[in-house]
């Protein structure tokens, strides 16, 4: 039988992956200083606007989704009752 993959069972590998991920974030922030800027609107003159917007979009998304869950979540057999 073929050996199954298990690289992510080792916490060391997960940690390595996270470090690579964090490094790529830093590189992206630095890269913005070396490209020809092409701002769409006035607020995009601020360096790192996309990064901040992306981060807070996802935080807001989760925050609002948790509130929404209080309203719309029902048991799986809700419609069968």
């Amino acid at each position: 039988m073929k050996k199954e993959l298990s690289i992510f069972d080792n916490p060391k590998n997960v940690k390595k992956l996270l470090i690579i991920f964090y490094c790529s974030l830093v590189i992206l922030l630095i890269a913005e200083f070396f490209i020809h800027p092409h701002p769409a609107f006035f607020f995009e003159h601020v360096k790192g606007f996309s990064a901040v917007y992306g981060f807070f979009s996802c935080v807001m998304l989760i925050f609002l989704a948790k509130i929404l869950r209080l309203i719309v979540m029902k048991k799986e057999n809700y419609y069968d009752k």
Binding site: A31, F41, E44, G54, A65
Partner: protein
């Protein structure tokens, strides 16, 4: 050249009905050849109106061939091929036949140049797709299929009403740009928007699609909504209303996608979100925006098909598809995992993947039109898409907690179909020019600029950072076995409530009217029933008195006659005699 070619829709629909008579390899090759033959026809037909027929004084146009209809014709044929390849080993002719008829009807809708043939193919699409939903043969799928067909028949009626009014007003069934002007245009708009799953007419989609079989959902995800997107581009480009519907659609479904437990429902909500991008593009209506909407529909069909194929593979091999029940599948399904990640990267619009070169056209169009608010919503949604479809779907399916399931990659044909779709996603992302050449307007757009790539990557990667931090901190909403209410609640729960109200209310009226009516009728009937007896008695008693009957003998005679008449046991001769004697009496007395 064209006279000896058959319209693509007819090829598909006629060819479908031979499938049940074929077996084994012949059947597989035959099914794969249907889209190949159609593709050959599409490549070889000239532009213009072809396959026109006279029908009851109306001109049917089965082939309106221009750049807009052709690009949709190509992608639907390609997707039909991939879907057939993916479903090749399914041992259920009903699914094969309905899937191929469905694909054919969609091609019919896309190429139709007149409303009559459009409506015909539109309804074939609704019916054949219903069979794909109920093909799971579960109670849930049957009920969802029933709701699906009801909703679509109502949508079809709106379209038909609009078509009738439109035809009466313009005197022709041919159509092109309509625009939101009169009542007929709004009726047509509602009919098409329902098929595009435009909010608030969207609930049928996340209700029905996740109930399909592992393979039929792939077909469903491609055809109905995108053929409606095509029609909106054709008939309502630049309708401001679509910008707002679209902006709402990119925004709201992502919250549901975050909460949903069923992977295919997550994908259904992200499908709504992606259509939202297209509707914004159509609503803006500039050449760049319309190009963007078309390109995005093209790419979307491929990567969404790919994602549904990956989800279908997981469902096929494990029998499970809920986040709470699966996880850690990368260990034994590495290829499916890899293809799923390609699909996820494409839908998230990562640079070098297909979504990047199409979605960014729509976003740039909002910039050109100075729509700050819409731009910010689209950017928010872009981060959100990456969050739920780009990360959540692969993460909870193939990584996350190890469910202990050790399912293998699916059969060669399913893997190959995913492989081709994944290849196409990357190819378009790296070489967008062939796709741009197919678009309806000349493309003057460069997706790969430094600012755009870095900006998009920042948006996505810092969204991913938020996901990572929330997962690690435990704040991320846990996967719970649950369902989330959507507007289908109105016709599923309220509908049931309305039924109870109708039952109690209207049936009460029924019962009251029944008792009143029956009382009156009974009274009248019994009056007329005894009336004959009473008249007969009146006549007879007088005769009997004349004849000298008195006392007890008269009583006995009266009772016997009365009962005989009431029970109908009176010989007809006596009845006749009574009648005649009655007439005689009248004659004598007057």
């Amino acid at each position: 050249m064209t006279s000896n070619m058959i319209p693509p829709a007819i090829i598909f629909i006629l060819a479908a009905f031979l499938i049940p008579f074929l077996k084994g390899k012949t059947k597989s090759i035959y099914m794969l050849l249907i889209p190949v033959a159609t593709f050959y026809v599409l490549v070889n037909i000239p532009y213009g109106n072809i396959w026109t027929y006279e029908f009851w004084g109306y001109n049917l146009i089965l082939g309106r061939i221009d750049k807009l209809s052709m690009i949709f014709g190509y992608i639907f044929t390609i997707m039909a091929f991939l879907g057939i390849l993916f479903a090749l080993k399914v041992k259920d002719d009903l699914q094969h036949v309905s899937a191929i008829v469905y694909a054919g009807a969609t091609l019919g809708v896309v190429l139709a140049g007149d409303f009559l043939s459009l409506y015909l193919f539109w309804e074939i699409m609704a019916v054949s797709s219903t069979f794909l939903i109920i093909a799971s043969r579960t109670r849930a799928s049957r009920e969802a299929g029933f709701r699906y067909i009801l909703v679509h028949l109502i949508g079809g009626l709106f379209l038909l009403a609009g078509i009738v009014l439109y035809t009466q007003k313009t005197g022709t069934i041919a159509f092109d740009y309509i625009g939101l002007t009169g009542i007929e245009s709004y009726l047509i708009f509602i009919g098409i928007a329902l098929n595009a799953a435009a909010i608030p007419l969207h609930a049928w989609l996340p209700d029905a699609y996740p109930n399909g079989t592992p393979t039929s959902t792939v077909f469903l995800s491609a055809f109905t909504t995108k053929s409606a997107v095509y029609l909106l581009i054709r008939t309502f480009p630049g309708a401001d209303l679509l910008i707002w519907i679209g902006a709402f659609m990119v925004f709201v479904p992502i919250f549901y996608a975050v909460l949903e437990n069923d992977i295919r429902r997550v994908l259904a909500y992200s499908l709504l979100n992606q259509i939202g991008f297209m509707l914004v593009g159509i609503g803006i209506g500039t050449q760049l925006a319309l190009n963007g909407a078309v390109a995005h529909a093209f790419c979307h069909i491929l990567y969404k098909g790919l994602l549904f194929m990956a989800a279908g593979s997981v469902l096929q091999m494990t029998g499970k598809i809920k986040c709470t029940e699966i996880g850690g599948l990368y260990k034994t399904m590495p290829l499916t995992c890899l293809f799923c990640i390609v699909g996820a990267a494409s839908i998230s619009a990562f640079p070098l993947f297909s979504g990047f070169v199409s979605k960014s056209m729509i976003v740039t169009a909002t910039v050109n039109e100075k729509m700050v608010f819409v731009y910010l919503i689209l950017q928010f949604a872009s981060a959100g898409v990456f969050h739920h479809a780009g990360i959540k779907v692969p993460f909870f399916t193939f990584f996350g907690h190890d469910s202990g399931i050790r399912a293998k990659d699916p059969s060669w044909n399913m893997t190959l179909a995913m492989g081709i779709a994944a290849f196409a996603c990357i190819f378009i992302g790296v070489f967008p020019q062939p796709l741009y050449n197919l678009l309806p307007f000349i493309v003057d757009y460069v997706p790969y600029t430094g600012a755009h790539v870095v900006g998009q990557l920042q948006l996505l990667m810092f969204g991913a950072l938020a996901f990572a931090l929330l997962i690690l901190s435990g704040y991320y909403p846990p996967e719970i076995k649950s369902i989330n209410l959507d507007v289908d609640w109105s016709y599923r729960k309220l509908g049931r409530g309305a039924y109870i109200v109708m039952d109690r209310g209207l049936n009460l009226i029924n019962r009251v009217s029944e008792s009143v009516l029956m009382g009156v009728v009974k009274g009248v009937v019994s009056f007329f029933k005894s009336a004959a007896a009473k008249i007969a008695l009146f006549v007879s008693v007088n005769i009997w008195l004349l004849l000298g009957y008195r006392g007890k003998r008269l009583e006995i005679k009266k009772n016997r006659l009365y009962n005989d008449i009431l029970e109908g046991t009176l010989p007809i001769g006596i009845g006749a005699a009574v009648a005649i004697s009655f007439i005689l009496l009248m004659f004598i007395l007057t």
